[in-house]
């Protein structure tokens, strides 16, 4: 059984291993990338910190609670970016003809795209999220229990899944947007930004976009409300904090649909 799984994954491992080796071989360049990645994370955390330097409570949350939200969401995003970050640069693959080469290989197109690269430098950014998470867990008013721990773990994993789905969704849509690919930044990087905000401050339209269509509110904010025992903002029900896995499933269904739609367009199927 394990052997079969190993055989199934062998082609992907081969490509990824070579990319990892290639990245590590450029030592100085890699160190630089790590440093800048870390810096980006710090600046984004600083943005949140500065706001709370000016007010003590924002959207019903204090800084420690928001640090918890930021930690969970940003770490999940960093990991998703590590594994899937290259996917929203689909036009590069199309223009280089690399996508056509994927058609010639006996693996699914999406799997090949995902396995074609990995950005190890995002690990440094993870550290920022981890630090914020650590601080939040200590300083916030956490209602500790086995359920809380389970919720935190499930949220983090769901967050990784949600953000990964955003990258895939972007890839699918970019088949239509070859020259306007940056449009997907609106929900990929906008989604990351939104995930670190207390959704209570959002007007209705944003709640729909980032609470339901691209459900990043489930990657940190809504679950943390349960952890620190705060009420959910309208229209999210109180149990929404536990629904992160559902949000992840929805996000992936949406993403796969976008991918399939994009591929069909690329192949000229359906007129």
């Amino acid at each position: 059984m394990a052997e079969a799984a190993g055989a199934l994954l062998a082609p992907y491992k081969a490509v990824l291993a070579s990319r990892i080796r290639a990245q590590r071989s450029y030592r100085a360049s890699f160190a630089l990338d790590l440093g800048s990645s870390l810096l980006v994370g710090l600046v984004e955390l600083a943005e949140v910190w500065i706001l709370f330097h000016n007010v003590t409570v924002l959207g019903g949350m204090t800084f420690p609670s928001i640090a918890l939200v930021f930690g969970l969401a940003d770490m999940a995003f960093a990991l998703a970016d590590l594994a899937f970050g290259h996917c929203d640069r689909l036009p590069t693959y199309v223009r280089a003809g690399t996508l056509d080469v994927f058609y010639l290989r006996p693996q699914p197109l999406l799997a090949q795209l995902v396995a074609s690269d990995i950005s190890l430098r995002r690990l440094a950014r993870c550290l920022v999220g981890a630090a914020a998470l650590g601080y939040g867990l200590v300083a916030a008013d956490v209602q500790w229990s086995p359920a809380t721990i389970a919720l935190l773990v499930v949220t983090f994993l769901s967050g990784c899944a949600i953000f990964s789905a955003l990258f895939i969704c972007a890839a699918g849509l970019q088949f239509f947007l070859i020259n306007g690919a940056e449009m997907t930044n609106a929900f990929v990087y906008g989604g990351r930004y939104a995930a670190t905000q207390p959704a209570r401050v959002w007007p209705g339209a944003i709640k729909v976009v980032f609470g339901m269509v691209f459900p990043v509110a489930f990657a940190g904010y809504l679950p943390v409300l349960r952890v620190v025992d705060l009420p959910s903002p309208h229209p999210f029900p109180e149990w929404a904090g536990w629904a992160a896995p559902l949000a992840a499933v929805w996000a992936w269904l949406f993403a796969i649909a976008c991918w399939r739609w994009g591929v069909r367009h690329y192949q000229g199927a359906g007129g």
Binding site: A7, A10, P11, K13, A14, V15, S18, A22, A96, G97, T98, D100, V101, Y103, L104, R105, P106, Q107, P108, Q267, G268, A269
Partner: protein, 319 residues
């Protein structure tokens, strides 16, 4: 089992014009193409740029879906059964690379072996065979981006053949290569076909490729199949002529009376003269001999009929 079978294969593109006035026009890249290629054949697929060659290949490999008509490659539907087909077809794209740019050639082959799930021992034997025959031993450890064009093409061909496919499609494989590299590549392809019975489908602009590699020629013009038959038949149908260009030691009036030739023109007041002759009727050597009897020849060159010329003639014959 027929290797390639198409029936009424058509592919249309919608072209939206840019600018203020948006209009849609329908471009038919491939128009009602019907053909059958049997295993072991060696087929040349020629046509002017934009005639529909790449589009056909994309439909054969499942990259594009036909607008109408039917296509089967190795008995499989290229779109629905793409992944199964991928193990049985090898493609060499002249412009696109299948190799990993910054990795040594050997590593690309190892990854490809893993991708095609080649059993360990069979994979290396096949790789060794290809490396030896394509003489790649000298640059196996070189990153692909540092290879010369000739070396890269050899590596691409090896990459396409690593999984021993039944059908190999080569899209402009000799473009930009020097004469020696072209010759070696052609010899390799012929030998490969002889050894393994591989079917070859070759698109090219180089008549030399066609003459040395293909028994059968398909000519596509504006999306339509204008000719499907042997190479000899093609020359006969088209009456394509070679041209002998001679530079004479001294000016002479037009050489219009050389047997089996047609005088095309003179330059430099009769110093350079162009004579067309039919390859079926006579040879360049004989024409040269005849000219040498009339004048002293300083220099000469022979022009082959180019693809565009052949295609143009076919199109006009077909009308």
């Amino acid at each position: 089992m027929t290797i390639i079978e198409t029936e009424g294969l058509t592919r249309q593109f919608v072209r939206r014009s840019k600018g203020l006035r948006r209009s849609r026009s329908l471009l038919t890249a491939v128009d009602d193409v019907t053909l059958r290629i049997e295993p072991g054949e060696s087929v040349g697929y020629i046509g002017a740029n934009g005639a529909g060659k790449s589009t056909t290949i994309k439909m054969l490999t499942g990259i594009l879906v036909p607008t109408s008509g039917r296509v089967r490659t190795c008995g499989l539907d290229p779109v629905r059964q793409r992944r199964v087909l991928a193990s049985r077809v090898g493609v060499v794209f002249g412009q696109r690379s299948q190799l990993w740019w910054d990795l040594p050639v050997r590593e690309s082959f190892e990854i490809l072996a893993a991708i095609h799930r080649l059993p360990a021992r069979a994979g290396t034997t096949r790789q060794d065979e290809l490396v030896e025959q394509l003489e790649m031993g000298g640059f196996l450890e070189t990153p692909v981006r540092q290879l010369s064009l000739g070396q890269r093409m050899r590596a691409e061909v090896a990459a396409a053949l690593l999984h021993s496919p039944e059908l190999v499609i080569l899209d402009e494989p000799t473009i930009g290569l020097d004469v020696l590299s072209k010759q070696r590549l052609r010899e390799f392809l012929l030998a490969e076909r002889a050894r393994h019975g591989t079917t070859l489908l070759l698109t090219t602009h180089d008549m030399g490729d066609i003459e040395r590699l293909c028994e059968r020629v398909l000519v596509i013009d504006h999306g339509r199949l204008a000719y499907d038959g042997s190479l000899a038949g093609l020359s006969r149908t088209v009456g394509a002529q070679r041209v002998l260009v001679v530079d004479l030691a001294e000016s002479l009036p037009d050489l219009v009376d050389v047997p089996d030739t047609r005088h095309l023109g003179s330059e430099g007041n009769g110093l350079r003269q162009r004579l067309a002759f039919d390859a079926e009727q006579t040879t360049a050597a004989r024409v040269l001999a005849a000219v040498s009897k009339r004048a002293e020849v300083r220099d000469l060159s022979v022009e082959e009929p180019d693809i565009e010329d052949v295609v143009r003639r076919i199109y006009s014959t077909h009308r």
